[in-house]
Symmetry: D2
Subunit: 161 residues, 4 copies
């Protein structure tokens, strides 16, 4: 998976409002006996897109001693199935910034939209389990990349994984 | 994973309103560098609980030529993290029955609720891609098991994996 | 996956020489578009059988600060394919005990042998990366369970995962 | 994962004798609580390298009705661990060509060799389960790419996955 360039955005039918994307080709190991990319595979693509996006806006590399995103909730809607070998772009954007949490959206594109998802993440120092306010530099970098993200509290639940 | 019995329901703190559960012990392969069961693992547990539940209410075994459930949307909320070796129960229930689709809820229990999810599934003959009305016997068996499920149309989107 | 009892050994056609087994039912998520359990799924079954076996012979639960098994090499031979829903037993046994490493074999049984594998594992304290001699109690418990295991040095390579 | 170019071969310390490689960056989802890429992840990298290699030498895209490679045996040796975010190259080459089967080797490179594996694959029409002789064009393309591959019978066992 590598970052996609602007020429590819048009080719895959990505709608306005998305600024970050990675490439993926559906792997054999991701497909089920119906011949479709399994519904769980998409969450791995979203995770990879999220990690690349967060690096891009300056969140320190994932480790047990620095604050890292921990998932509070996630969801997805599937529009059209994908098969082995299909080339897709996966987009990611921040839509809300809370004090210690943020909300992102993700989408899978081929000839237009194939699936769309979202996740609420909490910034946690894993070693202690403590929630951590989003660093100001991270907040600014996210808003620079996704100017339409709202700064608003999110009801923040305890979380896992 | 095997079906759980009633004595275990109390021991894991399962609340009223759930009638079907399978057992699971968190595997090493499901845990990430934070030491938590990865957020994607839960969707596999839900899938296994769903398949066992559907067998239990009489849906023919999954195959490419008989109608099978195809996922239209799914989501989850995580309340407390799980670690390697944790024993859990995963519950499944039907909450809505449409014409060709149905909605289920899932939950993960240890000392009470650890995570809760839902999914909308459409019954599709995979070989043709055609939506299929829920067989009357399946509908009756689901209502017998989960009497509080509503019979109501669900806006039914095209779907995948 | 739970430990299998002796009555099941005969039913699944397990040959003499194996004393430990866990049960598994092939999951939908483990099957590929050919309808077979994917070749990688077997390694997860072996890992789960290994972890249960090691608990059974007294190796402290896996953690970053106590010695844990780290894989140096592994391999498998597939004899007959498995499909969704197939019930299998997975056996595990120790065949060689070195100073800081040990060698195990695994097998998948249904109507007789379906696949057979092996692995060489090194006992390592993960936090430091140091090899650790097998505790005498572990060695004795392994030999008690698998009396035919040889005590012999294994050429011990550096390892990962 | 995309095909690697020759400049990268030197940078990752790839030894002579390998002509095909794909890129990979270790994903968060591939890492275990020890912080290492899980031993099973490598087999997915090998599978992806194999599928790309086979496309490159002209094997028709994987499907249930055309001949596809089915795994008879595989193995791996791990030399050095990998962590989240590590960039690697995965090489693939054919080392033996039988009548209906072939043997490949794979390796993972970072600063030199990190792991090495092999697999014996049988060409099978999945719908019928029949072994199929390697097409002459495939054989020639493999030998053109890997001139040192031996043409020799392999004892061919029944297989899965």
């Amino acid at each position: 998976m590598g970052a996609a360039d602007r020429a590819e955005f048009a080719r895959f039918g990505i709608e306005p409002g998305w600024g970050f994307a990675i490439r993926h080709r559906v792997r054999w190991s991701e497909c089920d006996p119906f011949g479709h990319a399994n519904h769980r595979a998409y969450f791995e693509w979203f995770e990879e897109a999220r990690n690349r996006y967060l690096e891009d806006v300056g969140l320190p590399a994932l480790s047990a001693t620095t604050p890292g995103p921990v998932m509070a909730e996630t969801g997805i809607r599937y529009y059209r199935p994908l098969a082995y070998g299909n080339e897709v772009l996966i987009t990611a954007r921040t839509v809300r910034l809370g004090r210690t949490s943020f909300e992102m959206e993700y989408a899978v594109w081929r000839q237009g939209l194939f699936a769309q998802g979202r996740a609420v993440l909490i910034l946690v120092v894993n070693a202690s389990g403590e929630k951590t306010p989003l660093p100001e530099a991270l907040r600014r970098a996210m808003l620079a990349r996704d100017p339409e993200a709202r700064e608003a509290g999110i009801s923040e639940k305890r979380t896992s994984g």
